[in-house]
């Protein structure tokens, strides 16, 4: 199944309505979830993605998820939310609890891709993370919303306290690694590539 990053970014991905468990997830996870689904033959799972750009507007995530959950109750037997807290300050967890649906554990995708325990143990506070999707969509998530295309002089106001760009690679892709390295250079940060695979995302999906 071919999916378009631009659509994932702005509009998300509709469910196929095949599979009894509806996964409501962030558009930034679509490639990974579909890859896991295909690799494991998890045909009972049906993915719906909300626009990935909500990553930059976490205050909008709880309402968007709640609307999708309400709609999904009409079409699916079970629903699981493929978001972690993602900057909602506990509000998504509270909303999911009120709706009676489960969601991914952890603060954000950087944590569950690495594995929540391992990520917490690192306790690194000066790392700026990118995933495969965020490397591909760096301009849409970083350059343009932060105004670095219009005002490059703002770079150090945003990133002056960071030291390293950590590229959490979900796949082996030399082109993406090269792009991630270039992103680090643009931000004036050291570069580290860390292969994570799918981490706790795979574990959570395997339990559904």
């Amino acid at each position: 199944m071919r999916i378009d990053d631009e659509e994932l970014l702005r509009t998300g991905l509709p469910p196929e309505r095949r599979g009894r468990v509806l996964l409501i997830g962030c558009g930034a996870l679509a490639h990974e979830v579909l890859a896991l689904k295909a690799a494991n033959g998890w045909d009972h799972l049906d993915l719906q993605c909300l626009p990935a750009i909500l990553h930059n507007h976490p205050e909008k995530i709880p309402d968007a998820v709640a609307r999708a959950v309400e709609a999904g109750r009409e079409t699916h037997d079970e629903i699981f939310v493929l978001y972690a807290d993602c900057g909602t300050g506990g509000l998504l967890q509270a909303r999911c609890a009120a709706l009676g649906v489960e969601m991914l554990a952890g603060p954000h995708c950087y944590s569950f891709f690495e594995g929540n325990e391992a990520f917490a143990a690192r306790d690194e506070i000066t790392a700026f993370y990118l995933t495969d999707f965020l490397v591909r969509q760096f301009d849409a998530f970083v350059t343009k919303p932060l105004g670095l295309d219009r005002h490059p002089e703002l770079r150090d106001m945003y990133f002056g306290n960071y030291t390293t760009l950590v590229y959490q690679a979900q796949t082996e892709d030399p082109d993406l690694t090269a792009k991630a390295r270039a992103c680090a250079e643009r931000l004036g940060l050291a570069f580290e590539r860390r292969f994570t695979g799918y981490g706790d995302l795979e574990t959570a999906m395997s339990e559904l």
């Binding site: 976490p58 205050e59 506990g90 306790d123 919303p145 105004g147 005002h151 306290n161 960071y162």
Partner: protein, 235 residues
């Protein structure tokens, strides 16, 4: 048409026109023009306090309102703040010399484990613009650092900032420590940061959650006024 337009010579504008132009320049994030405007007003005999409040804070209030209303976005606000910072750098030493009125004092810092300071820096600047003395502890502050600063500075207000869901609970650690030491009510505690909300502010025992820098200033003014009224009533 633009070829026909002439550059605006700030020094040729009268005071009213110049202040209006400075509002525009702040809005457009033009630091050098703001610095020039501040210097011209100083040469014309304006007090540093009047320049700060009437030209700079007046202009930033428009920026803040448009940010709140979704007309301006973070990059533009930061450009405006940078321009204001240029003007403030000229005025700050002069404000001290001329004994400008001081509303109160604030100690502010980003909590432990968190290195994000854009919002905090905006709050610091706007608080200074509003007449507060601000002691900025920077980023990644452990509870001990807050306690030391509170003891040394004796501020009216403690401000804490966090951008991460994982670091915002540390605000409660600080407030609980203040309670344990019996000094919680000696300070107005204001908290802010993207993942926070009013409910969280209440839950951790802060006096108020401030959505943005403009709200922080108004909230601070309001609490300090109430505090002074209480002291006056108790005297």
């Amino acid at each position: 048409m633009s070829d026909e337009e002439e550059d605006i010579i700030l020094s040729e504008l009268d005071d009213e026109e110049l202040v209006a132009q400075m509002f525009d320049d702040l809005y457009d994030g033009m630091k050098e023009e703001i610095e020039e405007g501040v210097n011209i007003l100083l040469e014309r005999g304006w007090t540093p306090y009047d320049i700060l409040t009437k030209a700079l804070v007046g202009g930033m209030t428009i920026v803040g309102n448009d940010f709140r209303d979704g007309i301006l976005f973070v990059p533009e606000v930061l450009m405006a703040a940078n321009a204001m910072k240029g003007g403030m750098a000229i005025l700050k030493p002069l404000l001290v010399e001329t004994g400008a009125p001081r509303i109160g004092k604030m100690v502010i810092g980003t909590v432990k484990g968190d290195i994000h300071d854009i919002g905090k820096n905006l709050v610091s600047m706007m608080m200074e613009g509003a007449g507060f003395e601000v002691v900025d502890l920077g980023i990644n502050n452990a509870v001990e650092k807050y306690l030391d600063a509170l003891e040394a500075e004796q501020p009216d207000i403690l401000g804490m900032s966090a951008l991460l869901t994982t670091t915002m609970p540390y605000m409660k650690v600080v407030i609980d420590t203040l309670k344990d030491k019996g000094i919680r009510d000696d300070y107005i505690v204001l908290v802010g940061g993207a993942p926070l909300n009013e409910e969280f502010g209440r839950a951790i025992g802060a006096d108020a959650y401030c959505r943005d820098a403009a709200v922080a200033v108004e909230t601070a003014k309001d609490f300090v006024k109430r505090k002074h009224n209480q002291l006056a009533a108790g005297a």
